[in-house]
């Protein structure tokens, strides 16, 4: 990781110095060892500094996706000129980047996209659940993660403390990148089927399903973190904020009313969701929102042929396309469970 970070710094600094790009989208250290945040660097010095908070970092906690920041980072100025930005993209981030290109939220010429090797991002919650409290530092070495707290040191197998979205990683290919640092597209950790969670719910009885979702969704506090992190949710003005849309936000409503928000949001991104998993990752209430989006992906794959948003930006998304012989909506009646 240190090696990769070095290569990233060198490359980005070179691009900034030569003026090929005017900003670099990367990560910088947060307050703790595990809360890196997205950062925009405009000078090589800033980027390479190694003081407390400064400087570009890249490790197991660089999980935040930077793709969506490109929208604002490449916005035209008053003269109508758009700045060019270098962005570091993990494989799954590159799909979201591609999707933004497809929907013309970002213009390809304004971006220099650098893919960076990913070996799965770490989940601080999982580390905590394993007993590590008051964490001081986290070191990654090979297949293990060494955590030292103020009281004790721990070593965990890397595979056990990966983010949920990485456990069900969809692959390590890079899309639409100008270059790639590091590499290797072999997933070397124990990966679970990404639809396993969806299938588990599908196998429940309708009553169980309903109760499951009521339990999950009732925790929602409508903080909008899911929406803000989502690379597809990039409307200029969200329908939930628009008083003329008829579905504008109703704060403090009955708890289960919130599921309208999540169903509508899931439907809005259906056929467009790149399955990046940011929604689940950022949810402060740990609602498994990705299970909603993956349900649509699974149904789309099964009914209309496999489709991966961001794979090919020329391809029509499933909801703007059709076939004469498409399944009738009545197919759902044939599925097991309930009436």
């Amino acid at each position: 990781m240190q090696r990769i970070r070095g290569m990233m710094r060198d490359r980005a600094a070179e691009m900034l110095r030569s003026g090929s790009v005017s900003k670099v989208l990367g990560w910088e250290k947060g307050e703790f060892a595990y809360d890196e945040t997205p950062a925009i660097f405009t000078s090589a010095d800033e980027l390479c500094s190694d003081n407390e908070l400064g400087g570009l970092v890249y490790d197991g906690f660089s999980s935040a996706m930077l793709s969506k920041y490109l929208i604002n980072a490449t916005k035209k100025d008053k003269e109508g000129k758009a700045p060019k930005a270098l962005v570091f993209l993990k494989p799954c981030d590159s799909y979201s980047f591609a999707h933004l290109l497809k929907e013309r939220k970002v213009e390809r010429e304004n971006v220099y996209a650098v893919g960076v090797e990913c070996r799965g991002m770490l989940d601080i919650e999982k580390i905590r659940l394993k007993g590590a409290k008051s964490i001081k530092s986290v070191e990654e070495s090979g297949d293990s993660v060494n955590v030292s707290s103020f009281t004790k040191d721990y070593t965990f197998p890397r595979g056990e403390v990966l983010l949920e979205k990485c456990v069900t990683c969809k692959g390590l290919d890079f899309k639409y990148c100008d270059e790639v640092i590091g590499g290797g597209n072999e997933i070397n950790w124990n990966r679970l089927d990404r639809f396993a969670g969806v299938e588990m719910i599908e196998e429940m009885t309708p009553e169980e399903r309903f109760n499951f979702w009521r339990g999950e969704l009732s925790r929602c506090i409508r903080c909008n973190a899911c929406r803000n992190a989502c690379p597809v949710c990039s409307c200029n003005k969200c329908v939930f904020d628009n008083t003329d849309s008829g579905v504008q936000s109703k704060a403090n409503a009955d708890s289960f009313e919130e599921n309208m928000f999540h169903i509508i949001r899931a439907f809005h991104v259906a056929g467009r969701c790149t399955d990046c998993g940011e929604c689940s990752r950022v949810c402060p209430r740990n609602i498994p929102l990705q299970l909603l989006n993956r349900k649509f992906i699974k149904d789309i794959d099964a009914l209309y042929g496999e489709y991966q948003a961001g794979e090919d930006i020329e391809q029509k998304s499933p909801l703007t396309d059709y076939q004469f012989g498409d399944a009738e909506p009545s197919v759902i009646y044939k599925r097991g469970g309930g009436v």
Partner: protein, 150 residues
């Protein structure tokens, strides 16, 4: 639970019908005096592709017990392709509602041409029967809305 004098449950059912085929089919059912329950109220839309899944959710949220959408048969859309898009949208929506534990019988799509008054009435009778047997839909309803309106 809305119950009439005779003590039977009266569901609220919203039907979205496209102007060119299904609405005309409903008119034909009417002029042929084919009976179906008064619980069904039709909303006219230009094409099934105008029906936003949001409208269906809205109906449930406001207390509907069943929602049905009717359009031209695939291949016969007045606007060539509208019902194909609608078909995909509704298929995915219904799959999602099922996934959330909403009974499948509360949602339905049926293709009814302007000539199919008989089919229209038959479909509506059948659908109303199914919804009736499922009883009141409390699940997705936004209780707060109901109280504030009234």
């Amino acid at each position: 639970m809305p119950i009439d004098e005779k003590g039977t449950f009266r569901p609220k059912i919203v039907a979205f019908c496209c102007n060119w085929c299904s609405y005309a089919g409903a008119d034909l059912a009417g002029s042929s005096r084919l009976n179906y329950p008064a619980d069904i109220k039709i909303i006219r839309v230009p094409c099934s592709c105008r029906v936003n899944p949001l409208f269906m959710l809205r109906a449930f949220q406001r207390g509907a017990d069943g929602v049905i959408m009717c359009g031209c048969h695939p291949g016969d859309c007045h606007y060539t392709s509208g019902n194909y898009f609608a078909r995909r949208r509704m298929t995915l929506l219904f799959g999602m509602l099922d996934y959330l534990g909403i009974e499948k019988g509360r949602t339905r799509v049926e293709w009814v041409s302007a000539a199919e008054g008989q089919k229209f009435a038959g479909t509506m009778n059948q659908f109303a029967e199914t919804v009736k047997s499922l009883g009141e839909c409390r699940r997705i309803e936004d209780l707060r809305c109901k109280e504030s309106v009234g």
